[in-house]
Amino acid sequence: MTTVEKSISEDDIKISSEDDDILVDVRDLTTYFYTEFGIVKAVEGVSFHIKKGEFFGLVGESGCGKTVTALSCLNLVRFPGMIEGGQVFFKGKDVLKLKDKDIRKIRGAEISMIFQDPLSSLNPVFTVGEQIAEVISLHEDVKKDVAKERAIKLMEEVGIPLAQERVDDYPHQFSGGMRQRVMISRALSCNPTLLIADEPTTALDVTIQAQILEIIRGLQKKFGMSVLLITHNLGIIAENCQRVGVMYGGHIVETAAVKTIYKDPRHPYTQALMAAIPRLDLSIDKLQTLPGSVPDLIDPPTGCRFHPRCSYATSKCAEVVPPLKIWTSDHEVACHHHEEINASKD
């Protein structure tokens, strides 16, 4: 269904993927960080797409490039980082080629993002009401009191009790879960078509995690927006997402429908993840079963970045980067040998 064409002309930013269903189409995204220790090849050749109204999950160990991928989608990579190449088509336009003025109109209005730590994501010197209203007045020409009224409505929408009074409180006066609700209402204030949630529950208590995800799910149903949910928790993926991309060392190694991935993981890394997880609610970071260490992204392994830890690795694996290839419709794998490896199953 999706054919990732790498031959698209650089200038032709209007060209989107053939499928009208697709909201975001990331192609060959590459982002490096030029640090004093060397070039961190945080994201390299990452391609995936998100359909309209889809709940897409991006999973991987911490440090594998999930956040950088998300920020790149908004062209928000900052010094010392640089987007080296690739395209991010959003509603047919390449976000990475837009002028600063134009992309600012997209940020917050059409694509919103919420972060891991809701306290530090809110400016301590402004009330939460002011910060929600800020988004509205940045993108719409409304009066201050109207913006505030809408802020209160949004706060009620995400289940903040006594929103009328709490609108004038400061972020530090809220609990962690309430802060994340504030962040969500802030992200939703202009009815975005894509919500990027970067580990929205990692900093929260387990009980509150479920509530927050429920709110996001509910809002997604209500407004029909797409969600890019970044997490390192496979349980969260299983419960919420329709499709998932697995990242390893700055590469996407496999994308598929969630059900497919659990039933038929094809990449050795995904398989290792699945095999090592007796229970789905465990986070990847707690896994100790995989031999070897997380790749150093300054000096990453050549070829397949997983090859030092892969038991099926051949000399080809160490030389040639395996491209992300369609296996079945809506199932892509980046491994030279996955057909042989999975031959017994198939």
Binding site: G108, A109, M113
Partner: protein, 473 residues
């Protein structure tokens, strides 16, 4: 338990500023610093009201044979003699009796046929019964206490009556008639006090006119004239006087003005340089930051005192600066202004570093990332999201900078870099230094004031820092 919860909620309500204020209120040392520094600032502002005396009044200078000297703290009461003789026989005139009255002529004693035998000066004055009066104004600044008058008079020919008349501003007179023997020198000494012959005295400032009138007989020659008036005084020197008999308290109160003016002025100059540099470095980073930081490093490695003294001397001797100051009517304050500028251009590095570091820290923070995500422009992020968060540390560093400036200003004044016509703490200290063993107060009070001022701004700065962000400690 509930109470504790309530207290916690109370503690956390309101803006960051409100929380900081509440936290500050609990900080005893910070409060002390606030009170003391407010006191120091008020002292500078209200110097004219607070200081009992003009800082440049030399007390007791008119005592006969008086040498100005330090006086211990306390109340000084007594008669202060004011010698009008010098004013009468003004040394700048060859024989200034001529100034008194046309009717009294200046004569040369050696040629006037007066028998020698009594040594006199070469000149005297001659008056006659036909003529008017020899007069002199005695102006008392306080309570005129007594008048001492002495002269010698030679009567040529017949015996004569000479009247000494004191007239006050209301026209009231005291007249003392003197009968003088002929053809010889008569020595006259009058000591008049209150009811003893001097009824014209008043308790407020007044001018009394003294006149000599020859009533009968021949000419009278007057010589060796001495006129002294005693003023009653009661001075309170809370901190004693300095070596010039100037009231130390008044001088230190006025000195606060100088110290604070220089320190505040300098910090504004520092802010003017340091804040934009810090903002620019923090905002643009990369090359710009590199350049700004190198400049900062260079300034930090300079031997502060020596280079500053050099700068002060250069400013002091720059013609156009001089001309500018003359135009502004500040020409006498050139050293102070040079010190202020010197302090300013060597005090901005801390501000720049702090602003830059704070911006670096804040721009990496998630809420700036979040502000970018909602489509805020760089400018908006800088002004709305970053700058307010720079303010708190900025206030702290400015307060601490003030205390440093006070100290350095005092140090420079101690070294002599201060104006002559204004008192300053450092100068009083260095003046008192020479007399420390005999006049403890002349060192103690300036020193204690400098310590209090520096300490209070330090405590205030520390308190504010703890209140704004306990983590900054």
């Amino acid at each position: 338990m509930l109470r504790k919860k309530y207290k916690k909620a109370e503690e956390l309500s309101g803006s960051q500023l409100a929380i900081a204020f509440r936290r500050f209120r609990k900080n005893k040392a910070g409060l002390l610093g606030l009170i003391l520094s407010t006191g120091v600032i008020l002292m500078a502002l209200l110097a004219d009201v607070l200081a009992p005396y003009d800082p440049a009044t030399y007390f007791l200078i008119h005592y006969p044979g008086y040498v100005p000297s330090y006086q211990p703290p306390g109340v000084k009461e007594g008669a202060q003699l004011f010698d009008y003789t010098n004013y009468v026989f003004n040394p700048s005139f060859e024989f200034p009796l001529s100034e008194w009255s046309n009717d009294w002529q200046i004569i040369n004693l050696n040629t006037s046929g007066i028998p020698s035998g009594i040594e006199h000066g070469s000149h005297a004055a001659r008056g006659s019964s036909q003529g008017g009066e020899l007069t002199q104004d005695i102006t008392a600044y306080k309570d005129l206490f007594f008048i001492e008058l002495s002269f010698e008079a030679y009567v040529v020919g017949e015996p004569a009556t000479l009247s000494v008349i004191f007239t006050n501003e209301d026209g009231k007179e005291d007249q003392i008639d003197l009968t003088l023997s002929e053809n010889r020198w008569n020595s006259v000494v009058l000591a008049l006090q209150d009811d003893y012959g001097l009824s014209v005295r008043k308790e407020k400032q007044e001018s009394i006119k003294m006149s000599l009138r020859v009533n009968t007989g021949s000419d009278v020659i007057v010589d060796n004239f001495n006129l002294k008036a005693g003023e009653y005084f009661k001075n309170v020197h809370y901190m004693g006087t300095n070596y010039k008999s100037e009231d130390l308290f008044s001088r230190l109160v006025h000195g606060a003005r100088v110290s604070l003016l220089v320190s505040f002025g300098a910090i504004f100059i520092s802010l003017f340089i340091g804040l934009p540099l810090g903002l620019v470095a923090g905002y643009y980073r990369g090359k710009v930051d590199e350049i700004v930081m190198r400049i900062t490093d260079v300034f930090l490695t300079l031997p502060f005192y020596f280079v500053m003294i050099l700068v002060i001397v250069v400013i002091q001797n720059t013609r156009w600066v001089d001309n500018l100051l003359i135009e502004m009517g500040l020409s006498t304050q050139v050293i102070l202004i040079a010190v202020m500028i010197g302090l300013g251009i060597f005090g901005w590095m801390g501000i720049t570093r702090l602003v830059r570091a704070t911006i670096f820290q804040i721009r990496e923070s998630d809420y700036v990332e979040a502000a970018r995500c909602i489509g805020a422009s760089n400018r908006r992020i800088m002004i709305v999201h970053i700058f307010p968060n720079v303010l708190a540390p900025l206030i702290v560093v400015v307060t601490l900078g003030l205390s440093a400036n006070i100290l350095v200003e005092a140090g420079l004044a101690f070294l002599g870099f201060t104006t002559e016509d204004l008192s300053s703490w450092g100068r009083e200290l260095s003046n008192g230094f020479d007399y420390a063993t005999v006049a403890w107060w002349s060192v103690f009070f300036p020193a204690i004031l400098i310590i209090i001022a520096v300490m209070s701004f330090n405590l205030l700065g520390d308190g504010l820092r703890d209140a704004f962000d306990p983590r900054l400690r």
